[in-house]
């Protein structure tokens, strides 16, 4: 077992499952957190992640296959997608893939799933396909407010980590999103995103 990433929430290792290369994701105890709170969060997220990752497959979101879940150890073994996170790709590539990211998010929202942690590191590009990972913060709802918070998240990341290509990526992302959810839904959510930003601290109210 080799560690490949010490994530915020979990440690990620490469391992083997039935002779196939696999990923082991384990949510370890965080000593800084109250232990009650900590074990609740870790359990809840392990359950959420393994459920949602399989559920979204049913409507065509490419995700890793879940092989095994151990709730006691808050650990999931899943298929390895040996591609690259979109975050690490070249700028032109990120711009062109933004539309696909928007489509995938649209598809999830349309089917009542909020991802909850939309960053460019949670989309993996592999063999011309974009996979979605990391469903620990996902939840089931069709509330427009939650969908807008989801979009605001990825906008924030584009605006910070990819500031130089923010305009193009956000435009493409929204185009992809709109193509799935339809124009009226798109306008509703887009307005809500502005409203949420307006609620932010010291936001310029236009």
């Amino acid at each position: 077992m080799n560690i490949i990433k010490k994530g915020a929430e979990a440690d990620i290792y490469t391992t083997k499952w039935q002779n196939k290369r696999a990923i082991l994701k384990i949510r370890k105890t965080k000593h800084y957190r109250n232990q009650n709170l900590d074990s609740n969060l870790r359990k809840l997220r392990t359950i959420k992640e393994s459920q949602t990752i399989s559920e979204v497959k049913s409507f065509g979101i490419p995700t890793p296959l879940v092989y095994f879940v151990n709730l006691e150890k808050t650990m999931i073994i899943m298929q390895q997608i040996p591609g690259k996170p979109i975050h690490d790709l070249s700028n032109p590539k990120i711009i062109s893939l933004s539309k696909q990211m928007g489509k995938l998010v649209g598809l999830m929202h349309k089917n009542g799933i909020i991802h909850g942690d939309l960053t460019t590191s949670n989309f993996i590009y592999f063999q011309k396909k974009v996979y979605v990972i990391d469903f620990g913060l996902s939840h089931k709802t069709t509330k427009p407010e939650d969908q807008a918070v989801d979009l605001r998240l990825i906008k924030e990341i584009l605006n910070s980590a990819h500031a130089t290509i923010m305009k193009e990526t956000w435009k493409n992302f929204l185009a992809g999103y709109k193509s799935i959810v339809g124009n009226s839904k798109y306008l509703q959510i887009k307005n809500l995103v502005s409203e949420i930003e307006g609620r932010g601290r010291y936001a310029t109210v236009v």
Binding site: Y32, R33, N34, E156, A161
Partner: protein
Amino acid sequence: MIGLGIESTAHTFSCAVIKKNGKNGKILSDIRKIYRPPEGEGIHPREASRHHIENSSIVLSECLQEAKVTIKDIDIVSYAAGPGLGPCLRVGAVVARTLASYYKIPIYPVNHAIGHIELGKLLTGAKNPLVLLVSGGHTMILAFLNKQWRVFGETLDITLGQLLDQFGRSIGFASPCGVNIENLASTSSKYVPLPYSVKGNDVSFSGLLSASKSIVLKSKADACYSLQETAFAMISETVERALSFTEKKELLIVGGVAANKRLSEMLKDVCKRHGCKFFVTPLKFAGDCGSQICWTGLLENQIKKGVSLEDTFVTQSWRLDSVTVNY
């Protein structure tokens, strides 16, 4: 180069003198008078600005005296132009404009939040940190990229400082309530489950505030303890997310809530996990002070000559991610 900085964004009126030599700055004096609202109440902008007006001349003269300089020695004057409470901001701006026009000193409007970060960097020596800015006005996770501080995460509603203050006031403490809550929390270890709301890199505290108020009746100490544990765990988690996303090797905490020991302890643990250096602004300069304004003004002086009096604005809403940093 000697600078005078004036801070008056909220409850603090402060003047400071800093001597800048190349990249080093030495704080010669930092004098403050803090407006204290009655117990159970928050800042009243009119009362706070009246307090600032009454104290401005005393603070200014004490500050020059302690620094052993006269107004003639001052090369530039800077003031906090926002974000903050309008009536309070205007007091600092008026003092700065008066000095600038009467004594012909170049004047610099400074963003208060950038001031927190720049002073934190000066005092801790952090080079390229991920910054956690936690105060009454801000709860933000920031990193510097392409001449601007970029927001990697922030609160979607109230700030950590407001959460603590509003909760504290509801149980009868006087603002700022952080210390009282911390002390009371340390007497309990009974965790009552409260709403934990992390949305990606963002947090939301309003639900937590209402829920905490509803468990107060049983035990104030348990409520304080559970509130702190929940809120700080939320912050720590978003910091951890941002650290792992940006792969920064330094974390710097600035702002008034940086003084909280429990929060520092948790963030230290986060840093250990990520092999990251931990910096926290020294207690005395974590909260609002003239030094943060003065130092940022001195940095701006490296690249521009100050602004004309017509452009000495104040803005209540002035997001720090809209400021271009060229120095």
